[in-house]
Symmetry: C2
Subunit: 131 residues, 2 copies
């Protein structure tokens, strides 16, 4: 990801790449429907073309449509994105992130999920205990 770093993306490029990560892959029309204050169809197409030239996305033909997807895997991109947010806004504090997550998502977390979260922390802690 040396030359595919997300801080290299321009405004529209970033909006588009975000949509592609969220959806997995998308047609021009789908991308257009998902970006804020969208330009015309051909503008979105041209932007996807530019992103492809730069190597950030690639397309495959699906019927008569092109389906675009990011070239960097989602798992890689998410790590990078999360790291960046933790560093920029949370002083690298895991606790602060988790606290913010709880705050943001508090009405949506089920009892089951809390249980799973506890288990996850516990198992990571044990992993560490073994080191």
């Amino acid at each position: 990801m040396s030359n595919k770093h997300f801080n290299q993306l321009s405004r529209r490029e970033r909006q588009i790449v975000d949509v592609l990560y969220r959806e997995g892959e998308a047609t021009v029309a789908e991308v257009r429907a998902a970006i804020p204050d969208p330009p015309g169809y051909s503008a979105v197409r041209a932007l996807l073309g530019v992103l492809e030239e730069k190597g950030h996305v690639k397309h495959r033909r699906h019927g008569r449509q092109y389906l675009y997807r990011p070239t960097v895997s989602r798992s890689q991109a998410r790590r990078a994105a999360l790291k960046h947010v933790v560093r920029t806004f949370f002083d690298d504090s895991v606790e602060d992130v988790v606290a913010a997550l709880m705050s943001i998502k508090s009405t949506q977390i089920s009892a089951e999920e809390y249980k799973r979260l506890s288990k996850l922390i516990e198992s990571e802690r044990n992993k560490r205990g073994q080191r």
Copy 2:
């Protein structure tokens, strides 16, 4: 934050705003030192000027220097940023985020911190239990 949404920021604008959130506030020279592949001093200055015109940052004089800071509070910005990452890359799954955090930071989390994380989850769960 209606018109101060981060997906409105251009490439350099975003790089600069990120630095300001990371550092809290900064001079032109500090911003310049912190952004990737920096242009000259006057270019950075001009960008900060543009960001100020757009209302994303403001400055105060500190001796003969200007100190710039973001207009949107860090706590607000971090919530928005985290929400965006969770949605874009983690399908809104808190668990997946926490798992990724653990994975990214595993060698840096102390036993104490694991304890505090557990407590945090537990206390959030109890809060929810009361509802």
